[in-house]
């Protein structure tokens, strides 16, 4: 999406760019939404809405941050809106991560699946704001500044939440080990 100052792009060219973004960032958006919403169904809704918003605001993207940061920010906002709209219907959270795995996993993945799923499951049990922090830092590999931009919180708060998130996670994993 190399354009300057939000200049106009022909519709067909824009659609090609959107297709590229869906292909390049789609899975990351889906996973981010899943971690935020804890539901495959809701994550797929968020996935669609994220890219619809990408289309809507495509012309306003001025390259002040990376494409990835921009799209992640949109995805996070979509998820937060969904959590708010879900306020009344008390979202039922699924803990069964295995329900969401693809059937086309290789044997190698199946062998190590339990360990990795357990880690994901532990992360999913973190409170929202720590879960999103862990995800943005470890999965999306955004730095403190980028996370601060995406979540619209000061860098100091990002650091303290990240620290707290790590501590909580360590506590949870330790608890499991003893239990």
């Amino acid at each position: 999406m190399k354009k300057e100052g939000g200049c106009k792009v022909a519709p067909s060219e824009k659609m090609n760019e959107i297709t590229r973004l869906v292909e390049q960032y789609g899975n990351d958006v889906l996973r981010t939404a899943f971690v935020m919403l804890k539901s495959r169904e809701l994550a797929e809704d968020a996935y669609q809405e994220t890219f619809v918003r990408v289309c809507r605001y495509y012309d306003s993207f001025r390259g002040e941050c990376s494409e990835k940061t921009w799209i992640t920010g949109i995805a996070i906002n979509v998820c937060r809106d969904m959590l708010r709209s879900a306020w009344k219907r008390r979202v039922t959270v699924t803990d069964d991560f295995s329900l969401h795995t693809s059937e086309s996993n290789t044997e190698e993945i199946i062998e190590s699946k339990d360990e990795k799923e357990e880690l994901v499951r532990s992360i999913m049990k973190l409170p929202d704001k720590y879960r999103e922090m862990i995800h943005l830092y470890y999965y999306q590999e955004l730095d403190i500044k980028e996370i601060s931009r995406v979540l619209k919180i000061p860098g100091g708060t990002v650091k303290s939440r990240l620290f707290k998130a790590r501590s909580l996670l360590a506590e949870m994993m330790g608890g499991e080990a003893n239990g």
């Binding site: 899975n27 619809v52 709209s85 693809s102 994993m173």
Partner: protein
């Protein structure tokens, strides 16, 4: 997992690389299906097609606004030329209500040495604005308290994900029988805060005396036309109220605005429509761990500072008696307008999320019409 446990337990510091690899591998199993990709691309295509037809980028909108007022400006210039040719004693005073805030955000009327008299009918600009409007619109707005039975936004916002589609709407509590806010007892605020902190794993603090009573807009939302035609917020507000608890983080900064409503119906824990339900002394308060609204500190400070906001209006417009103060939710808890009634007029202080409306500034006081016009301009997409 044993490896991860060791990583997590050793010095309580995560080994970033191992952790990243394990976490990524765990999530890698989740992939968008071809069907999902195709459906999404189809929606994107439709969005791109409709974007060109229905929506206008802000620069085009501003152009249209400029064109709309071009005739007005031209008329002003013409009249000014005519005035310069008339004897000085017959010149009308240039004391438009809307001038100070437009010119500099919020210049005190007193500074100009010409406080606006109620009505300011002699104002040249106001006169021209009025004459540019349809006479019937102005009359209806003045006479009918209920103002147009406002344009209904297509569908309900509750289940849509796009904010600010084609109108304004408040946080919607239509599924809950709520009571209008009178007071939020400290026991209720404390209990809600504790429950929220436990659910979220946070340690937010809150001074319940800073709880903000928020009034919603009329149910169903407001379109640009209704907002433009309204004489003030009185005509736009609904009858539901809720509280916002401003929560501070460990650094003492406001971070979250937590909506709370008083229910007209008593619930036990399991039947409550929201996941935080506090009942005591015959009153029930509802909130949710999912409802916290992230905010920046300065915006929350503005919302909390009732006295400061009233003083701002006093200072800006040289008003004597303040008779009303309302915080109106105009965008589902994201954007607010603080409405202050004084000396028979309404003044408004915007408190918007970044970029919501660019023609008025947060934290400055304006005659209410200025803010309504700005909102209507920003919403005008048809």
């Amino acid at each position: 997992m044993a490896e991860n446990r060791n990583i997590l337990q050793d010095d309580a510091i995560l080994n970033d690389d191992s952790f990243k690899a394990a976490y990524k591998a765990g999530l890698d199993q989740l992939k968008a299906s071809d069907e999902l990709i195709q459906t999404t691309l189809n929606k994107c295509r439709m969005e791109l097609e409709t974007t060109g037809k229905k929506r206008r980028p802000i620069n085009i909108s501003l152009t249209r606004i400029a064109l709309r007022y071009a005739a007005l400006v031209a008329a002003c210039l013409l009249v000014l030329v005519l005035l310069l040719r008339t004897p000085m004693g017959q010149s009308p005073k240039l004391t438009a209500d809307s001038a100070p805030a437009r010119a500099q955000g919020a210049k005190p009327m007193a500074d100009s040495g010409a406080a606006a008299a109620p009505g300011s009918s002699s104002s040249l600009i106001e006169y021209l604005e009025k004459s540019a409007e349809k006479p019937s619109d102005r009359n209806n707005a003045a006479e009918d308290d209920s103002i147009p039975d406002l344009v209904r936004v297509e569908g309900s916002f509750i289940n849509t994900l796009t904010l600010g589609e084609a109108g304004l709407n408040s946080m919607d509590f239509s599924g809950i029988q709520t009571l209008a806010g009178e007071d939020l007892p400290s026991w209720a605020a404390d209990a809600i805060l504790d429950t929220y902190n436990i659910a979220m794993g946070t340690q937010y603090t809150c001074d319940e005396s800073n709880a903000i009573i928020v009034t919603t807009l009329k149910t169903g939302g407001l379109g640009a036309d209704a907002i433009r035609e309204a004489s003030g917020f009185d005509a736009l507000l609904g009858n539901q109220q809720y509280y916002l608890l401003p929560l501070k983080d460990e650094n003492g900064e406001y971070t979250i605005l937590l909506p709370v409503v008083e229910s007209a119906v008593s619930y036990d824990d399991t039947s409550a429509p929201l996941d935080i339900a506090i009942s005591r002394e015959g009153r029930t308060w509802l909130s949710s761990q999912y409802s916290g609204i992230y905010t920046d500190h300065s915006r929350a400070e503005l919302l909390v500072d009732r006295e400061g906001n009233m003083q701002l209006v006093r200072d800006t417009f040289n008003v004597k008696q303040i008779t009303g103060y309302v915080v109106a939710d105009i965008n589902r808890g994201h954007d607010f307008v603080i409405v202050v009634k004084a000396d028979g007029k309404e003044y408004a202080i915007p408190c918007f999320d970044i970029g919501f409306v660019t023609s008025v500034d947060n934290g400055k006081a304006y005659p209410v019409r200025d803010v309504l016009s700005s909102l209507a301009d920003s919403l005008e997409v048809k």
